[in-house]
Symmetry: D4
Subunit: 247 residues, 8 copies
């Protein structure tokens, strides 16, 4: 539940639009609404100032729909990740303001979009890494950050990256997304005067080990300004980058 929704509730009570009983009933559902299979958190946005998020993997469409409906009552900004097109179609029928990012597989509700601030730069090493990069970019954006994208800049063709040194110098936070050998963050880290969040992807084969290879590359980086998130975790990178960007 975001601050403005809470103010609205209290003002309606004050103005007599709702009575004490109704207001209490609403507040009582806080801090979370128990759907049995899920405890929907209505306080997080209030506590943190960020959108509510639903991670769709491993949840049935019915469960996601109920969670979404519970969230929608109190929130203007909602992000659903790892959402397939069928799920989008289903939810779109409920709320036609929803937007789908096909590559990033995100569904977003962003009512009264606020002005984006600061500068988060999302760099991907290869074309195949773009889905993860998009998840990161969408997350950072809905969390309030101004986002720029720079795709297919892997280090085996270093001139593509060096051509963008000014963008790297001017970002507040950089997200470096890479599969295969995952060397991109090390080079970016050495060029950037800001925190770099490294995201390994599952793009690769053989000894790539489903992304463990670039994950270990990034964890062992010599650049001191790099931190790492889980393989393919564009969401986590986007969320953290928005926090850093806002700091």
């Amino acid at each position: 539940m975001e601050i403005n929704k809470l103010e609205h509730l209290l003002n309606r009570f004050k103005s007599g639009e709702t009575d004490l009983g109704q207001t209490l009933e609403t507040l009582k559902q806080l801090p979370f609404e128990d759907l049995g299979f899920a405890k929907v958190d209505h306080h997080r946005a209030l506590r943190t100032g960020y959108p509510e998020v639903v991670f769709c993997l491993g949840k049935t469409p019915e469960q996601v729909e109920k969670i979404f409906q519970s969230l929608e009552k109190y929130n203007d900004n909602i992000l659903l990740t790892r959402a397939d097109p069928e799920l989008f179609t289903r939810l779109r029928n409920i709320d036609n303001r929803l937007v789908y990012n096909e590559l990033g597989r995100t569904i977003t509700l962003e009512v009264n979009e606020r002005k984006k601030t600061g500068s988060v730069l999302v760099i991907s090493a290869g074309t195949a890494d773009i889905p993860v990069a998009e998840e990161a970019a969408v997350t950072a954006s809905i969390s309030g950050a101004h986002v720029e994208r720079l795709y297919d800049c892997g280090v085996a063709g270093i001139h593509r990256l060096l051509a963008q040194t000014d963008k790297i110098q001017n970002a507040r936070c950089i997200i470096a997304v890479a599969g295969m050998e995952g060397a991109l963050p090390s080079v970016v880290g050495g060029l950037a005067p800001c925190p770099v969040i490294a995201v390994p992807t599952s793009v690769g084969y053989g000894s790539h080990l489903g992304g463990l290879a670039p994950l270990f590359t990034m964890l062992n980086s010599c650049a001191p300004n790099i931190t790492v998130v889980n393989i393919d975790n564009g969401f986590g990178a986007g969320f953290s980058s928005a926090m850093i960007n806002k700091a």
Copy 2:
């Protein structure tokens, strides 16, 4: 080479204290001085505003000494990590302003210490994790951050952590250090409205796998504001936290 050292160099030339040849000779050594076994970077502090760092592991004492002497010429803030007591004794003979942190195994030179700003909170899960936590704390501090410590707050006794909720709420960046199961960052992440850098440690045994167990715990955390560094990498966590704190 920090900005003020560079200004000093140019001013001395302007005032005639040094001639053109000497000034050029000094500048020519930039951006790095080649010692054969190491290319000492005199531009990094200039580029980034952070101290010069020497990672001592795998270097001979002679190599560290030469690198330190090269750095000392142009820098006021120097940090040496993974330094054993013998190395400290050796370098102390060269420069008696050096300070040793016995638990964190760091050596620091901090001439004209600047005012520390912001708030970095370093939390450790257990007593045995303190060495890594100290490396992080010292690094964050010499990089300009005001640092607070909270040790032995593992989640198996959750009340110890909950008793410190206010500190967690007020930090700009939190470093959560944990060995064994490494669950601390997940709980801290849920309580904190700021970025949390998780540091797994090699404290544990058996299926702990030298720290891989808590590393994977942290990478898989459900909390969205967590990023991770390598096992025992207090330095990386401290450096990144200072960057975030400064943002």
Copy 3:
């Protein structure tokens, strides 16, 4: 073969309903009936006081059907785990008293259900962990335990768990089910004055390694009252919890 079935057999012999030959023939099949591909154990329930169990994974529907028919002759309580809906339909045609738990994928026969005793509390970290939690709950219940469920209580939102402290304090045995980072059992272990059985699940991605990440988390827990079962092994946790609950 359960005690009451054995008594019934002997009483029928005593009363003349069956003759010596028939009775011996029945007893001769003990301790197990050899179906060629399986040796069906008719003594286990007798020995242990628990239901007969069929683990369906890796068995053909024909094999499961034959094993079930062999078991049904001497047992009132039968549990089939890892059973898909098609298998349930097939067996339902044989015995319409069978019950299917769709999430937990269990089929149960529970004739003359006995009173459930004690208190086993099943806690899941996330919505996606519920299938494993249900397998555990169903198993504990058919094994004689009174079971309570508490779902979606992951530690990244610690208030959801702390709100249930009284239930945790009053259980005789707790089953803590968690995928992702698997930190739930550590926190529960610290709050509970009873044994906690930790169940890692395969819910996760990337460095989750199919459940190895939460498995290692749980094995390395600092809480002293935690023991662990295999990834997704809700059955084993439910069975052991019922034994502990009964002790």
Copy 4:
């Protein structure tokens, strides 16, 4: 802080032996005493009814000594695990009631030893597994359980185990300790009508992987009444067995 120590404190206040200020000062240190490097928990024994425990690995002798002295003020039952002989000598000088188990590497303080109840059976597969078995046995005993030992009963000579079937049948909880292939718990689990806690040990070589081999053996056991603890974690097994034994 155990119940009787707390009663003593309150009675002394009531009788006037201590005044309000002193009593409050003592209580204020609860629930834990902060030594800086450790938060010593004085409430756990009160909460759980079990001894206070210090895990010595990774702590300096000075730290262990201070923690012990802090615990000793309020507790009659203290267990220190992974303690080497030098540490024992050091602490013995402080409190000569301490007892050392050389194989199990435990130090125990057990003032006013209570009567042991129930029946915990500790079985080891080989001679080299005895140290872990002893840690388990000592822990179970100081936690209130009557403990029996059965050593060198590995399954490659199955007659050694079968010769002890009656002991296995009569235990309330069994701890099965095994290195090498770790097959012991599977056989014991099939014979025992009670919960079995399996403890893999690091005894082995080659593809034993420091104990991962028997750990995986135990986690994959077909016996339904087996739960597992970390490699070499005799303490955890002993503690949990005492809880189950007491249930």
Copy 5:
């Protein structure tokens, strides 16, 4: 090319049925016939006295067909492993003497079946391990061994195995097939006075790691008379057992 086929060739030349050119042409193709994608070995049976074998996995049906046709020219005993039913149907159209083992997925041609000698005993731990056990049994049989089968004798119900001690005592070589924890060979090894070949299977889940868990169990066995083959490698176990049986 088996001895009797070679004799036949030479006799036909001697008797004038074939002339020198034809005979040489046939012999020239030896020791192997090069199909481009495969070099079919016509000398192995000659050298070793065992059937020709085609491992079908990873080969196209066309390739298998051509290899089979090449082999059939000179061999009476042919074994194809990892063959699906479609492949059998295809080859059956070429040679209707072929036999398919549905569980073991083997196709065999055994012209003029010789008398089976000695005694190879194939034991499986569970019902789901039977496919691998059958591959082993078929291989041992076509290689000349008299084979007995004993299925579903896992160690968690040790009485099922102990009931067969006499068969174990009388075998010349035993193949012990087990998935899950893979403990069967250790117990069998202790009971058997002959070599035991252990075969881990991929039957299991979670920390079973696709069969690595039972593989490591078997490699670490305390029984001295155990050797091990690859996961699911029934063929290798069957072949080696026949060699040992024949010795």
Copy 6:
């Protein structure tokens, strides 16, 4: 962009066929053309003298098509790897000079094929390794090397390999492709007086670990003239062999 295309561009400018503006526009697109999702490198062929390459895995057919069209403008030699038949059909519609290698899954455009020089020998251990071997052979060939193939020469039938000693002695560079145990390169390395590039394949099962087993075999080879590429990386082996062959 290859040298001859660049010359053509400049000659057309010189002769007046194109004016300065058009020529500059073309050159400006260099060194790479930014398609948004990909930065197509037009300088590589110029820099390296090798064909342009598109790795199709993880790219959508639309993306591959656009990249191909961009490359085709400036290059005569193009190689697409990991291409399925559908993709070939799609691209064939654009340019009917394209050639598909079904086993190797490569698409090639080779306008004005140059004379192949030197000698690269591609050896495969088994029939199932041929797809990777073909990828290597096609790559080496389009990169200018004269290529010979030697398939199904695994070391378990060493005579097949020894029969080809002269080819091994006369090659400039050998590519040894092997799945299963991956022992082929060790034997070849000992026989060959030239560099051997070892390629592990994912052909195998069980403890083969998707190709990690032969990968580690090859990395640990005692032969001093062996270097290794990623599992199934026929392309990398082919490319490097062509470089060595050309040296």
Copy 7:
């Protein structure tokens, strides 16, 4: 207790040298003598016809000494493996007939050495693998086999192995010992008409993984007559080879 010792015992009773009580007392200690920390098996030699074996790793010298003294009472053939020189000196003082193999680290007692039969061939790939090969050779010999050794025959210099083809052709069982890439057994397997036991060793570095690399090589071998034992398990290979040799 070997047959002849048992006969001796009974004859002494028959002849009146010992009375009934003494004889019964001796027999009562069977089938094993319980030393508390070890149950010494006096029946194994009787049951199996092989020497008694003590695996010294992980046992204290005192424990080994007591076990040896218990075994010596009833056995003429005793083998101690993984024994360091200090242990040998200690035991030599008790029984000066003991023999030490310095490379293989074995201690043997072989009273009335029997004639060695059959033919076990032990081949090592490198000089550094000899200790494991010696453990195997000594074990096979004391178990009754005639043993031949062939050292430093790795496949990277294949001519060294091919020069010994006749020995390979004539053995009843071959033990192939190899570290590094472990390719030796594959080649030997292809040349040998008898069972081959492959022994990986821990000789290697880097991706050798302490012997896992050659272990996996051997498990994945294409040769059908290979079985494998644990890394460095010369004893297991020697024992099994003797069983096969005797068959």
Copy 8:
């Protein structure tokens, strides 16, 4: 045995300095001299044109000494790797022409040093990687290559590497040595028009996994001209580079 030593032998026979018997005796020792624990190869240099090499790890000093003395009889160029200073002192007493490289731990005998040709460039990422780089450089040099060194050029400070682009452009073969994240070869590969041999080192900690992290980085590199050798295998890289350089 090198060509010139063989000529010398034959010429001495021709001139009558040695008689037929002596000459034959010498030749008979070929192709290898059997020392029992090692078969010293006197033909390799003859066959390959490269120095004889002794890998000292795992060999006793006595064994190395004997192998060296055997080699010295017929070779002018000998390389010993992984040699500690004590070994050098021992061998120096035998032949004072030996040279020790302290960092690279190599001992070399290079009589009548030939002119070095071509250009092998050895680049190291960090100071701590120099020992491996030196092993590579010494090996390449004694194998006939002209070698240049470029140390401490890791990609986190990319300007250090870019400053050397001309050297990279002009080499015939490059060896790129890197520990930590191992990203160096990817960047070098993109800049170099020649084959790059990547050498991962064991320099690192935590998730570095003893060098597996950079090994996997290198194997997964996007640059097409990279092949890889084992962790710390400077020798293999040096030898292969010399072969490529000579091609």
